[in-house]
């Protein structure tokens, strides 16, 4: 089986929300067959590593096979959140794209949607 290493952005989409200093980020595969690879590779440890510089302390992953989707709840990810953050994005709304860009996965080529720029090795650079 031919596999390809790509950023999560090539095979999944995501949405970030907040409550206080806690972020939640959903990760949803474009193709259902991709889900098992995401469950295997996109672990709590890897998400925590992506947020280490923010001071994140804990990640809890919820796996929802019926949707299918995963939900990551990241404690202390928002530098205090809207109450205290000095950054532009106190709600952490952009952080779904931090995950999509930072975390890579190795998946069968079929997991990347047809026509995706990532299949031609172009990524998002057009």
């Amino acid at each position: 089986m031919k596999t390809i290493e790509v950023p999560l952005h090539a095979v999944a989409h995501a949405r970030a929300g907040d409550k206080g200093n806690r972020s939640n980020i959903s990760v949803i595969p474009y193709l259902p067959a991709t889900f098992e690879h995401l469950v295997e590779q996109v672990t709590e440890e890897r998400i925590l590593a992506a947020f280490a510089h923010k001071g994140a302390t804990r990640v809890k992953r919820y796996v929802l096979p019926k949707l299918p989707a995963m939900n990551f709840v990241i404690d202390d990810a928002l530098e205090g959140g809207v109450n205290a953050s000095l950054g532009l994005d106190g709600h952490g709304k952009s952080l779904s794209f931090l995950v999509l860009g930072e975390v890579t996965v190795r998946v069968p080529v079929e997991c990347v949607p047809a026509g995706s720029p990532y299949l031609e090795g172009r990524g998002t650079r057009g």
Partner: protein
């Protein structure tokens, strides 16, 4: 089977002012009970409203009431579409009186308006009692003055307001989902122990409460997730059967998209434990939920499970939290990144020199600095081009307005005292409201429904 139709015309204060017009046009042609909701009350919004009410007892309802309602009030009354909204903010009774005044101005006759009160804890508890509850999330209150303290009411009192026959129901703080669950309790007569139905209704409200976030907005990623005619995005309409069968769709003749992907993103939006989404009406579990496209821009959502609600209600306490000072300046063209980095270093040195004690963040926008922390630890992992366009931003939070202004002014002074070609300075110094969440015994909170007569 009878169906109830619920549209959402706004997902936050400041949402598109005329989004409800196509919803009303669509609902007008639907058979069955029809409702239009607006959700405009963020955690902090209520603090601002409370301050307005203290300075003028007629004020303190949402300033957006006068933006949204005149566009739809006459058509809603004509077609029997009932409005449920938290535009009551800190003064639902005042909002109800304002709706009557609007009706008079618009020539709308016979409008019945009801208000739900009881969420304001400061009306029944002392400030010391509010401070006595343990904080589950957010700022330590310390000695900061409390501006507002409001419990999240559930759908039951809102349903009681609908039972008065009101055309317009104004509430203050309720759960966002209650705006949709209440019409379902009212129309379908769901009991408090029909937990799976309450869960479906809560999920319905959760999907609608952010407006176009479920119909293709907050979603597009060109080339990866494309959405037709985003500029004309249609806001959502839910169709719910008496058994809880739920279809999510959108206003007719609009852009946007309702698909499995848009709905799944919104199901998990701001949801932490998907098996325990706590509300005063029911604990929602979305673990068994399935999402299916059943037609163009029509998605069926089923399988929400409910558990009994907790004995406590969440309340948000708002306090004054000092000042945020910000300043920004741009550098463009050859060597722009080096000039921006030099400017950032100058601001850091100046803030130290003048003795700013509060933490100051100085960053270079254009280097993915929004993903970074205050000390820009992540910067080493990205290598942006030296030529281009970069914007230096400094920010501080301080109890002192003077300090907030000083940091902002250090960016302004770069015009003549910084690197070559600095341009486009913008400054903001703004008062901040902080929030903390507490849990209160639900028996301490008593909601009241008032039918408000025209003046």
């Amino acid at each position: 089977m009878s169906k109830t139709f619920i549209g959402c015309g706004a997902g936050f204060a400041g949402d598109r002012f005329d989004a409800a017009v196509p919803i009303v046009a669509t609902l007008a042609g639907m058979p069955g009970e029809r409702f239009l909701t607006y959700e405009v009350l963020a955690e902090r919004t209520l603090a601002i409203a409370q301050k307005l009410r203290r300075s003028n007892p007629d004020q303190g309802y949402s300033p957006f009431l006068d933006t949204y309602l005149p566009l739809v009030l006459a058509d809603c009354k004509r077609h029997g579409i009932r409005i449920v909204t938290n535009m009551g903010a800190a003064n639902p009774l005042g909002a109800a009186r304002r709706v009557h005044a609007l009706a008079r101005e618009l020539g709308v006759k016979g409008l019945k308006v009801a208000a739900v009160t009881g969420d304001d804890l400061l009306a029944t508890l002392t400030e010391a009692e509010v401070r006595g509850y343990p904080i589950i999330e957010g700022l330590a209150l310390g000695n900061r003055p409390i501006v507002a303290a409001n419990a999240y009411l559930g759908a039951q009192p809102v349903a009681r307001a609908l039972a008065t026959g009101a055309d317009v129901v104004l509430v203050g703080r309720t759960t966002d989902a209650a705006l949709s669950l209440a019409p379902l309790l009212h129309v379908h007569g769901w009991r408090a122990d029909e937990l799976d139905r309450l869960a479906q209704g809560t999920l319905c409200g959760h999907l609608l409460e952010c407006g176009a976030q479920v119909t293709g907005a907050y979603f597009p990623d060109p080339g990866f997730k494309d959405v037709p005619d985003l500029a004309n995005v249609g806001f959502p309409i839910a169709e719910i059967g008496s058994d809880g069968d739920l279809i999510v769709t959108k206003a007719a003749n609009t852009g946007g998209l309702v698909s499995r992907a848009t709905v799944i993103e919104q199901i998990l939006y701001e949801m932490h434990d998907p098996h325990n989404y706590l509300t005063p009406d029911v604990v929602l579990d979305v673990g068994e939920v399935t999402v299916d496209e059943v037609g163009p821009n029509r998605v069926r959502v089923q399988g929400a499970r409910g558990k009994p609600p907790p004995p406590t209600l969440k309340a948000t306490v708002c306090v004054d939290a000092g000042w945020l000072g910000e300043g920004e300046i741009s550098y463009v063209g050859p060597n722009a990144l080096a000039r921006a980095e030099l400017a950032a270093a100058v601001v850091r040195a100046r803030c130290r020199a003048i003795g700013v004690a509060d933490p100051v963040r100085v960053e270079v926008l254009g280097t993915q600095s929004t993903f970074d922390n205050n000390t820009q630890r992540r910067r080493v992992r990205v290598s942006p081009p030296n030529d281009g366009e970069y914007r230096v931003r400094a920010a501080v939070r301080s109890a002192s307005r003077k300090v907030a202004q000083q940091v902002s002014d250090e960016v302004l002074s770069l015009y003549c005292s910084g690197p070559a070609g600095g341009c486009g300075v913008r400054q903001h110094v703004t008062a901040q409201v902080g929030t903390a969440s507490i849990l209160v015994d639900r028996m301490k909170v008593k909601a009241t429904v008032t039918v408000v007569e025209p003046a």
